[in-house]
Symmetry: C2
Subunit: 282 residues, 2 copies
């Protein structure tokens, strides 16, 4: 039984915390400044609450960072500071959707506090059932983290390579799923603005029969989550730039999701036409 | 029987010229400065050759411009000049992969010579068989062009709207087919450069089972044609910009195809790995 601090029990982290209990471990969390929804998810996961990060770190052998990509470096910095202050040195796992160079920067930051670091990347939805979700891991201590997920719905997959490999896998995976959705929505918005929306739909029905359904699914599935995808797209752009590849696909995707951020968590999701009109507003 | 000048009988235009004979019409062409391959295609189509544009225009009631997008405005300008010089006023059809604003600029140019103009956009491969290829048409005289293709393999589809609508249809259609191919190749190149190519392929096999096949098909199908797609992607970017939509997807696509231009007409096509390595060279 390992005590695992989950930073933070959001839509993904909360379900991962529950998944850790399934595998026989004890999740912990830090309650300061978290939303009522996070409190509820932490309770459902049976997580032990802490008022501050220092006491949580002192109690845990593993720290799992699962947060929006924009916050990943901040969370890592706070963990490093708390580890230095308490003398604890938990194994730190960054499981966020960040570029390999961001993952290496985080590993460098955390290493200054004496904590070992593992790079992680989650592919798939929150692990409510078995077989849907992989946690890719890289770095020297990847085995230790894979061991913790034995018996969980989340399947740990160890990659060859140092810190950065797991993040690269996550980035290139999301580059298609979220990048192609942004492309499709942008094309549909262009067709609408140029007055050929119906004609394009009819042509797609003949020669690209999956695209009409895919477009409607993209709008409904993406719009409520768009608010947290802009940062991820910028991390993917950085992943491209590091290797001299064109970043424009994902900078344009970031702009697309930025425009749709107002549909945050909307249920039921907005209609396709509403999404396209919002995109066209700029 | 209508005399139709085809500018020029390239990979697409040559097959369209043959298709016009199938519908009972007489194609014409201008032989000055054309390649031996074009000469052969014109001969196969039974096209009447002319030494210069002026005599060709004097002989034809319809001029069909089918050329790389970078040349579309130049061809239109030459036609306008020849029409003015000869006093002829054939019906001019721009069937190129250009932005609506480029189509309108061309229409304005040609209209100064007194020629009526129809906007066209071809979706599908060269019309070697029935049912594969549509010629979208817009503008006042679109009906007259549709009439000419009665009995051809090419299916004429008239769109509501002025000059620009047919181009918008073509642009938004190609925005997905060629843009998503460029995106996929760029992602695969990133995975290769970051050392996670095999892991990404394995994850795709599990959760995106069509992507591996699609990637190999993209490389083989795109690389030999990439040399003429850069300009088309730039026209799509202009189509986006006109409506305030992000242009980055297609500027990045243009950069992708520029890098692969050296595989021009290569048969058999290069291996996927060769294509990705070329992309990574910049």
């Amino acid at each position: 039984m390992t005590n695992v601090l989950v930073l933070h029990p959001g839509a993904m982290g909360g379900v991962v915390a529950t998944d850790l209990t399934r595998a026989g471990h004890q999740p912990h969390w830090v309650s300061a400044n978290r939303s009522p929804a996070t409190v509820e998810r932490a309770d459902q996961a049976g997580a032990v609450g802490h008022d501050d990060l220092a006491s949580a770190i002192a109690a845990c052998a593993v720290v799992l960072s699962i947060c929006p990509p924009d916050n990943a470096l901040e969370v890592a910095g706070e963990v490093a500071e708390a580890a230095r202050a308490t003398g604890a040195s938990p194994l730190f796992v960054d499981a966020n959707a960040i570029a390999p160079l961001s993952a290496r920067a985080i590993a460098d930051t955390v290493a200054t506090s004496g904590c070992p670091v593992v790079d992680g990347g989650i592919v798939g939805p929150p692990p409510l059932t078995e077989g849907t979700t992989r946690l890719y891991l890289s770095g020297e201590r990847a085995d230790d983290i894979a061991e913790i997920f034995r018996g969980a719905h989340t399947e740990a997959v160890i990659l060859n390579g140092e810190v950065g490999a797991a993040s690269a896998l996550k980035m290139t995976y999301a580059a298609w799923t979220k990048g192609s959705s942004a492309l499709l929505l942008t094309i549909a918005a262009a067709a609408r603005a140029h007055g050929v929306e119906d004609a394009l739909g009819a042509e797609w029905d003949r020669s690209q029969p999956e695209l009409g359904t895919r477009l409607r699914r993209s709008a409904a599935g993406s719009a409520p989550k768009a608010w947290r995808w802009k940062g991820e797209m910028e991390e993917i752009a950085a992943t491209m730039i590091e290797k001299g590849l064109p970043a424009g696909f994902h900078l344009a995707s970031a702009e697309t999701w930025r425009r749709l951020a107002e549909f945050k968590d909307q249920s039921p999701p907005p209609e396709l036409e509403t999404v396209l009109d919002r995109h066209l507003e700029g």
